[in-house]
Symmetry: C2
Subunit: 388 residues, 2 copies
Amino acid sequence: MKTLSILGSTGSIGESTLDVAARFPEKFRVVALAAAGANPSRLAAQVAQTGARLVAVADAGRAAVLEPLLASDVEVCWGAEGLVRAAEVAEVDLVVSAIVGAAGLVPTYAALVAGKDVALANKESLVVGGELVLRAARDSGARLLPVDSEHSALFQVLDGRDSEQVRRLILTASGGPFRGRQRAELAGVSVEQTLDHPNWAMGPKITVDSATLMNKGLEVIEAYWLFGLPASTIEVTVHPQSVVHSMVEFVDGAVLAQLGVPDMRGPISYALNYPKRLPMPDLGLKLWELEGLTFEPPDRKAFPCLDLAFRALELGGTAPAVLSGANEVAVAAFLDRQLSFLQIPELVAAALEALPVTPLDTVHTALEADLTARRFARDWVGAQGRGD
Amino acid sequence: MKTLSILGSTGSIGESTLDVAARFPEKFRVVALAAAGANPSRLAAQVAQTGARLVAVADAGRAAVLEPLLASDVEVCWGAEGLVRAAEVAEVDLVVSAIVGAAGLVPTYAALVAGKDVALANKESLVVGGELVLRAARDSGARLLPVDSEHSALFQVLDGRDSEQVRRLILTASGGPFRGRQRAELAGVSVEQTLDHPNWAMGPKITVDSATLMNKGLEVIEAYWLFGLPASTIEVTVHPQSVVHSMVEFVDGAVLAQLGVPDMRGPISYALNYPKRLPMPDLGLKLWELEGLTFEPPDRKAFPCLDLAFRALELGGTAPAVLSGANEVAVAAFLDRQLSFLQIPELVAAALEALPVTPLDTVHTALEADLTARRFARDWVGAQGRGD
């Protein structure tokens, strides 16, 4: 029996994780949940269904709303400290880290330091604090299991294979809703158009990132840390059908790819029960029903976020934290209609250029860089945004 | 340094093997060669290039033609016995078994009994004598390394993975030159049309087998023995682009695929140096230049050879040997314009129906079944063939 703590339980990854766990009650027991708490009745239902003993929410106000909906013996905590408590519960074996944004770093780090295996869906943990997260896992012997479909694909292909035999890691990208558009055609795209992702149903932040290709940029950084290969071996290929989740080319030219349906329960179930796969009868790929699978180069001019991510990796230290922090503010401002679509990469580039890069010595440094980037970004939005 | 014996050295697999070996002179030394000997000057050139000490040819006449072309210290032998000698040379580590047809079984078996690893390109070894070949490898501890691109793909994907986690082995088939044609449209197809394979340059026998889908049928039987999974887990999918060389679907729905350029040096190099891949710089896949990759079900009515192979597996014992022997004669008769294209499966079906199935206790039994099938097939050609 593996005991789980699910951080971000009411998000799409959290819900899918609960679905997988519920299918195998003899294998998994959910002990703790964390969510912002904006939907207290949903969270209360999750607690009732799973029998979780601890719930963390964003703040004391939400805790007060939630508490009356729960059985009296369920403990409610809140804030950053609450999140860390949910990550550190003594009896937990594996923490599913599925909080969106840089807020995910602290509990991810705490879980690894406490020796918990982490199924990682929170990109920013590795983007903002990759070096620290890897070190924490190495020091405690905890396992870091990717949940992103692309990294899970690479992880499944590489499993046990010598990384010296790798020529390229090939991350696939759907290309998002604006694939094929020229840069000039992206100036006036709306929030609604941006949120209309062709293949995956995801939260708004990641959907915007998917449209700008920043999502793929963040994944490049994530892959860099997860697989320990030089950035120059990581390539991005656009694959509009999102069937091939990623590929590895080996030194002999052979390419091993992982294919699957666009359902996060696949990667989640792989991470939850690694190294043994769980039978998931409804996740079979219908090869004969697929349209032709195609691959094309990303348009790095129309979608400069991709190169900005490579640039941040090259700068090293706190630069990826700056990239991530500036991007979070830029995306929020875009969703708020304060920035245009093309201003997202503009803002991120400005932050990377303006802010100093320092070595990543502590989680505090990483979060400080993220906060500095956010302040910079908010100022930039104030000065450059269209303010409507 | 690994020492090699290459059986079938002047065929396409043999030539590709020599190309790979020549790229890594510090890793491989060719000690013995075997070929029919129809092209003595080419064989003599191979001996000179590799420094092989022993050469086997089909018969004494060809040996007499070859001998004057060689240095005096090269030993020439011939016939079935010569082939076995080439497979058993004491100093040889790995035997590349790339003779075409059932003739490959005896030297393959001999090599495994002698404890040599075998890189197997000869399908019939497993089709005719699968049970015996597997037992010989198990008893001596020798490794059986597939060279067929499809089986190499499955081998690369499965490497080290628990076969209980496999839901389906998915063998890809190009569909051959007649893909998409109805059964009725195949009645009058010519030898020239049949030999015009869309993706791979191969010898005539295997090219005809590819057009009838018997090649895929033989590969199903081969996969059955190589991977030790029930026949019901083996599926065939038509994939006209021949980029995905085969796939494995696991119990969680994840599909791992191996992709590559249509160049046998990939699978050969993998088998020669297993488990470490050899750098092959010219074998990189140009993903962005591929046309769309598609998959479709095989037309089992137009190409009944596929189901005949499954039927032979189901019958067990000597039935696959009968299938193979009858098919070899049928293909030769088709190439000789004595049989029509559709008479190939007719003849094979007749042989499977007419001939008794016995347990496969010895290599002699296997070869006897093959010979009986050939006799039956020749009689059938005499009686039913168009005789023009």
